[in-house]
Symmetry: C2
Subunit: 583 residues, 2 copies
């Protein structure tokens, strides 16, 4: 995680930018000039856990993908008349069948995607990539695709971890990054901004923090939505998957932040209401969110915005004695009605163990002190975060968190821990790329639970993970509510085969589904989790999704190939848990 040289042996971390046009430039995360590799303590831990030696890090396991993308065996199959029609809609130069452009929108960022790309395993490719500019163009494209039964996919930020963007049926992929990323209006009276769905997180946040110059606003604003994928995520992706940012405990998930949406569907334009609350039948905003491109293409979004007041932020971190006590304290913080903190992150013992290594805390005088005071390794739990909002509000939240943490026997840690977390919060994906060069793969799965089933879900899922070979699994909650929270599992293993990884991943998803948790708190369903969805939601309840699909997209041309399970065959579905009454 630093550039400090290792003592003795130096692994062959790749520090050369991927060449333009290369495979690596597609599967590698983000900024080509930025690199991240493990600190020595993590390196040591990996070697121990995965029975690896320095030898394994002398060279890359495989080809690292520096060669140019060339797909002679995967030509575009689009008919010339369709190609011409698409060009008429968006302009000649904004339609391409180039190999690189097609591959660059073919996969997302789940471990299975990255392994397939590294091995040049081409399971899916669009036949043509289109770069729309306006809402009207997207509407024409959707109508054209629907009329000619061409599969239509959308690529926003590309950071899907659910195979949400994968064009499994070929056809058209709309790459929104190039042009469909404009801010359409800003309304300071209502504190809202309306944008095209392809706008990236950083472009949105930059504009909002620069609102006095950009929009002549009286104040600076923030979008309040910062997923780990922030830097390479799009507003549209946030919305259609029901994403949540790391500050969601205060700002809400995207489902709370969206005010209004506009979709291009096969039956035409759909505009949802733009009032904060209303009693006018089922909530259209909440019907369209979560559709993941299967009802149509999200074109425009109006988001609520928030005042940017970092001067009021209070950072905190505490160490709890054990997971049970820490969960009880977190619950009290969420239920006492003192207001919610913005980042609110509680790590289980295994994650705490890893974090103390990552943040070098185990090399400071704090480590023996913790031991001495009875905060034992592999029992103790790290809790950290910071507050946002108006000054008095922010202070009151921090004061109550301190009060409750102390009441539950926690030890205040330094602000150093929180700052260390902040430094890494958006760049862990870089570390992932570095490790994969040596067959060490990191991935995440997450779910939503009530407080009353949290201990059981945590226990059950971890038990399954630890029965798997060579697995580190760390868990935290990071999106919290009075009635429950998410549980986020990060697992690290030594594996290099895509099919093997898929089986491994499936085993953990099965465990989540069996535990009774909601199978996703904020990653969404995509094509990867789709087999579990009907089993989780219930058969008649799932029928609602199909009724909506039949209404919007009767020919099933929108994000086809299993997305949220709508065109899965019965035998492709899993039903591992009977829905029980909540009590």
């Amino acid at each position: 995680m630093s550039n400090k040289p290792y003592k003795g042996f130096e692994p062959k971390w790749l520090l050369t930018p991927a060449p333009a046009g290369s495979y690596r430039s597609i599967f590698r995360w983000g900024d080509p000039e930025f690199f991240k590799y493990p600190k020595e303590s993590l390196y040591k831990m990996m070697k121990e856990t995965f029975q690896m030696t320095d030898e394994d890090f002398r060279d890359y396991t495989d080809d690292i993908g520096f060669d140019q993308v060339a797909l002679p065996n995967h030509p575009s199959r689009i008919a010339p008349e369709h190609l011409e029609a698409l060009k008429r809609i968006v302009g000649e130069e904004f339609v391409t069948t180039g190999d690189y452009e097609r591959l660059s929108v073919a996969y997302g960022c789940t471990g299975y995607d990255l392994l397939r790309l590294r091995h040049k395993q081409i399971d899916s490719l669009p036949d043509v990539v289109v770069y729309p500019d306006t809402t009207e163009q997207v509407e024409e494209l959707v109508l054209y695709a629907s009329q000619h039964k061409l599969p239509l996919y959308v690529y926003g930020g590309g950071s899907s971890v659910t195979r949400g963007v994968e064009p499994t049926k070929g056809g058209i992929s709309l790459d929104m990054r190039k042009r469909f990323n404009k801010i359409l209006s800003f309304n300071e009276v209502d504190q809202t901004i309306t944008v095209q769905a392809g706008l990236s997180g950083p472009m949105l946040e930059e504009a909002l923090q620069d609102a006095p110059h950009r929009f002549g606003a009286k104040r600076q604003y923030t979008c309040g939505h910062f997923p780990q994928s922030f830097e390479y995520s799009s507003v549209g992706g946030w919305v259609v998957t029901r994403g949540a940012g790391q500050n969601s405990t205060y700002y809400g998930t995207i489902a709370d932040i969206v005010l209004s949406q506009k979709y291009a569907t096969p039956i035409g334009r759909i505009v949802t209401p733009h009032y904060p609350r209303e009693a006018t039948g089922p909530d259209l905003n909440q019907i369209m969110m979560g559709s993941e491109g299967t009802f149509g293409v999200l074109t425009e979004v109006t988001l609520k915005v928030f005042r940017w007041q970092p001067e009021n932020r209070k950072r905190f971190s505490y160490m709890f004695r054990d997971w049970e006590t820490a969960m009880a304290a977190a619950r009290e913080m969420m239920q006492c009605e003192c207001g919610y903190s913005s980042v609110f992150r509680l790590s289980d013992p295994e994650e705490t163990h890893l974090m103390l290594k990552l943040y070098n805390v185990d090399e400071t005088p704090l480590a023996p002190l913790l031991d001495k005071l009875g905060y034992k390794d592999m029992e103790r739990c790290m809790f950290l975060g910071f507050t946002d909002g108006e000054k008095g509000f922010s202070q009151n939240v921090a004061r109550n968190i301190h009060r409750i943490a102390r009441r539950f026997g926690a030890m205040p840690m330094t602000g150093y821990v929180t700052r260390s977390w902040e430094k890494g919060r958006f760049n862990d994906p870089y570390l992932r790329d570095t490790l994969m060069d040596f067959s060490v793969i990191t991935d995440t799965l997450e779910c939503s639970v009530n407080w009353s089933n949290m201990a059981q879900v945590h226990r059950d899922v971890r038990a399954v993970c630890h029965a798997l070979p060579n697995t580190i699994v760390t868990t935290h909650m990071s999106h919290c509510y009075p009635q429950g929270a998410n549980l986020y599992f990060i697992f690290i293993t030594r594996m290099n085969d895509a099919a093997e990884f898929k089986r491994y991943h499936t085993t953990i998803l099965d465990a989540i589904q069996r535990s009774g948790a909601a199978i996703s708190h904020h990653h969404g369903i995509g094509k990867m989790f789709a087999p579990w969805l009907e089993g989780y939601i219930g058969e008649k309840e799932y029928g609602v999704f199909r009724a909506l699909k039949d209404y919007f997209d009767p020919d099933y041309t929108m994000n086809p190939g299993g997305t949220i399970g709508l065109d899965l065959k019965p035998e492709e579905k899993k039903r591992l848990n009977e829905r029980k009454d909540y009590r």
Copy 2:
């Protein structure tokens, strides 16, 4: 509003409880022993505004409904085999075709309903009233009704102001008040309660405040949902209409408070998820809420509950110079991120004028002081409320409200004003009954707006109201958000004819629809506002509701006769406003 005798002439206010079995016992609000009549100042104002004299109050305009209900011309048409089947499901003694029982579930509480009941105008009656006990019974009843194409209606609290409960097609009405009102479970860890949908507001709140005794809980709780109709409203009614209580600015509307729902639909049981947030496709909770009985019958609801901490409550009231300044201050309070107050109610100049009379403020030294300081009658605006939540949170909200009110030039008023409002908050419907005996009718309409269109909606709707003869129209906002608020119009007029009143009411609804506001913030749509719904939502967007209806209730037996417009003919619909892009 008091029992203080009038100076001189004493109008013939009715102070005798309505006899059991009488018409009046049906159309009159609430507790038979409780009466409310106008204070002399309001009485005087009514006479002036409506060109009435004491003579008009010497005797009732009409029959006051003390006679026994008897409907010889409206026999039940239910077939004997259906009657037998219903009795087999719920038990012999819980099925009735009695005239009184049928009429008592035939109407809600909108002005049009009360005028029709006073004039014994029987437009709608169920053929049979059934009193279910369990979820399984309701499920059997729904299946039976659906299989035999019998219209099925539900009567919860009966306080619908949208003709939501009216059995316009006859058939079966489920009267939930008698038995379908049980608490099923309480979960203190998750802070939730699960109840049958017929439970009344006061029964729920009493149980929660008594949680230590009732459930062995560690604390007292509150439901946080207090609509004006609280005392005669049901949890199910709150949920299916998307209601909001007077404390919604802090606690949220019912759409925020519901965690999970169970419905008996013609296609079977539907259970919605019970996690605080998830990313598993469209939000089933928000799809079922707002269906108003047209997808099926709501049987069970799990609500979030809140800690009961009245000791932390801070009351406040302020007088602003004018509506524009007051709106700007309210917006700042909602956007500054200091936390939200629980009751947050801002009256426009006409309502402020009336309130000062009602609360006797115009007889105190405060009245000349206000004038002297330039807070002019018919310009000044009253703002009042109170905070809830943890002590520091509550204090911080009150402190910021004070700071902002002062910054916008408001004068602090006494806690007396807030307490006066609190005294009357649930019992204004009693006053309404008293006035109707003399042909003075009060009713309300409400809508949802963004801050940026609030001034225009307020101006447009009031202009239309004031063009109507003999109309007092007062307006407030009482459910506020960073992006907007509701506008609530109370109108008082002299009128006694149901058809005339319906035309009058329609004129105002037309004005709301033309203004571009959402046509309901929390009353719902029912059968009364249904003609406007598709025009407001948009044709393709409204098609979503029909797709859902077709899925759940393909034979249209659930709350038929226009509810949320699903079985209206095209010519019965109004389209008064083209949907514009929100910017």
